[in-house]
């Protein structure tokens, strides 16, 4: 029997859901509004909500003072590059652990996850020194490597879980049907794993895009992505709230657009296998 829910409860629950949804969204909305205020209005007490003097001056200043497109391009290259490299390593790794496990597979998986438990600041100095000696400080390649390594455990875990979900019988059926390993990959495994691959790539891209610790510490100008661009607006002379908001809005815009268009894939991928 279906549970009975009174209309009043539906109203209350719906109201509460909207309230909490709005609460979560508020900082982003506020940032967006602030980016159109003057520096003076950004500080105003009591704060103004919608009725202020709208201006796009902050965006112009931000672009002229620190080149937005330069940083955005860096973010794209670093996030995209680290995602691609991570996938190249993770797909075969997850494949072999899912389909040809050994006695040690469980241990390897746990060990990989354990590396994520260490605070990154613990290895900042050695990594910095290594990067300096190799001459890859403030290079995109250097950032791609470190972000890729950082996200690799999660990527392999996610792919491993997806591959595990694929019934072995189907791969055996393909073998009986005469498919070679290569054809099995192309015609059977990959099409079945597409939702998993897509959501893993997306998540990895978002993680790399938002990553601030390593990007702030290992880059200055040439390879600096949007995180550095935002941070440059919190300066010793004080905070420029309106300009900081404009910079932040610009920085998150691409990822919000990407997330918006792929939200269904993302949710499907993350809950894949939870319900048969």
């Amino acid at each position: 029997m279906a549970r009975k829910v009174s209309p009043r409860r539906i109203w209350v629950s719906t109201g509460a859901a909207w309230f909490f949804g709005f609460l979560i969204f508020l900082p982003i909305l506020w940032m967006f509004l602030t980016s159109f205020k003057t520096e003076l209005e950004a500080f105003a007490m009591p704060p103004t909500f919608l009725f202020f003097h709208w201006t796009t001056e902050n965006y112009a200043t931000v672009q002229s003072r620190s080149d937005y497109f330069h940083h955005a391009l860096n973010s794209f290259i670093i996030a995209g590059g680290s995602t691609l490299v991570a996938m190249l390593i993770a797909v075969p790794a997850a494949w072999s652990m899912a389909f040809a496990p050994t006695r040690r597979t469980k241990d390897v998986l746990l060990w990989m996850l354990s590396t994520k438990m260490m605070p990154p600041v613990g290895v900042l100095v050695p990594i910095y020194l290594i990067y300096r000696d190799l001459g890859i400080l403030d290079t995109r390649a250097g950032l791609i490597v470190i972000l890729c390594l950082g996200n690799l455990p999660i990527v392999i875990w996610m792919l491993f879980t997806y591959f595990k979900e694929i019934p072995k019988d189907i791969l055996e059926a393909a073998r009986m049907d005469g498919a070679t390993i290569g054809r099995e990959l192309v015609y059977v495994l990959t099409p079945m794993a597409v939702p998993g691959l897509a959501s893993t790539m997306l998540l990895n891209f978002i993680l790399a895009w938002n990553e601030a610790f390593w990007t702030l510490n290992l880059s200055t100008i040439d390879a600096a992505p949007l995180t550095v661009f935002i941070a440059s607006y919190s300066s010793p002379e004080g905070l420029f709230w309106a300009k900081l908001s404009a910079a932040s809005t610009l920085a998150i815009a691409p990822i919000i657009v990407l997330g918006w268009f792929s939200q269904r894939q993302l949710v499907r991928g993350l809950t894949f296998g939870a319900v048969k």
Binding site: P167, A173, R175, D177
Partner: protein
């Protein structure tokens, strides 16, 4: 042609011997069923024939050629899996055509063969559907279609009906048997269900703990079980076993009597007992009789018998249908 011969086939996983020295001759065109309790190695034996597992020792000959080093696809066999194992992202057409596509057949020929297989299995209206849009029985048919379209030397079935409900299972059982006779292709069929084995097989292989206990036609197994295990496994309800003095009188350590070969009377002769449960099915009556020292005996009476729990009965075995076993549990022939 599809003659399969196993010669001293062994399979171990680490120190565990799953299959111990299996020897078997499967004639071309016959329907052979591997039956046995779970864990007896029947699925492993099938997978060894398929090539999905490598043998530890021995030879597997298909039409006289040793195939132990031949990959699964090159053995000319096709397999139907318990889970159907359909490709979820392909249409029914794609599923059936996949093997032909891998074999590199021309498009027109693939289409023709797929259409023909679909027509045989009543799948024509569903050719463009995805597996998830089909019922269990239809999925099973697609899996069979995928197997027949390749015109293999033999079909291998791994408990293909166990995911279906009872009514559908009976129907599919007949369809599979009919199809196999019509195509006259060798079939090796694994099941744990002895009714499936008895009804479908030309010959049954009874497996237990990795060894072949007996190989013969269903009625041979029923009439002349080679040992206690086969005697107890084949036939439903299972055979009654009696040992001790009653068996010694027949010169055996254990005697076996099938429930249908126990005569029920109320006279003094025979084994006295008390009915503990009576099941009235209309066509048959099953009695579970507490026969004191002899233990619980099951009896089957064709037709209706007006007895209920607590009634005293006397049971006498049909001497011509009595099975005698020695102390190793092997059948003693007169």
């Amino acid at each position: 042609m599809g003659q399969i011969t196993l010669q001293g086939v062994r399979k171990s996983f680490g120190p565990v011997n799953i299959i111990k020295d299996a020897n078997l001759d499967i004639e071309n065109g016959s329907f052979v069923v591997f039956v046995g309790p779970s864990g007896c190695g029947k699925t492993t034996l099938l997978r060894l024939i398929a090539g999905l597992e490598d043998v530890t020792g021995g030879q597997i000959l298909i039409d006289g050629r040793n195939v132990v080093d031949v990959p699964p696809a090159k053995r000319g066999l096709s397999m139907v899996f318990q889970s159907y194992a359909l490709y979820p992202h392909m249409s029914v057409r794609g599923n059936i055509a996949f093997g032909l596509k891998m074999a590199g057949l021309p498009r027109a020929e693939i289409d023709r063969k797929v259409e023909a297989a679909a027509a045989t299995l009543n799948l024509t209206p569903y050719l463009d559907r995805k597996p998830r849009e089909l019922s269990g029985g239809q999925r099973q048919r697609v899996a069979i279609g995928r197997a027949i379209v390749r015109e293999p030397k033999a079909f291998l079935f791994d408990e293909p009906l166990s995911n279906l409900d009872a009514a559908l299972r009976v129907q599919m059982r007949m369809e599979v048997t009919k199809l196999q006779k019509q195509l006259a292709t060798t079939a090796v069929y694994v099941t744990h269900d002895q009714v499936e084995a008895m009804t479908m097989a030309d010959k049954i292989v009874v497996l237990n703990a990795g060894g072949i206990e007996q190989y013969g036609s269903p009625l041979e197994l029923y009439e002349r079980p080679a040992n206690l295990f086969v005697a107890g496994f084949i036939g439903s309800p299972r055979m009654n076993f009696v040992s001790g003095e009653a068996a010694a009188r027949h010169g055996a350590v254990t005697i076996g009597i099938r429930p249908e070969h126990l005569k029920i009377g109320q006279e003094a002769e025979g084994w006295p007992g008390t009915v503990s449960v009576a099941e009235h099915l209309g066509s048959d009556t099953f009695l579970y009789v507490d026969a004191g020292k002899l233990g619980m005996l099951t009896c089957r009476y064709v037709g209706e018998l007006d007895l209920k729990a607590g009634d005293r009965v006397s049971l006498s075995p049909d001497p011509a249908r009595l099975h005698r076993f020695d102390k190793e549990g092997m059948a003693m022939r007169a």
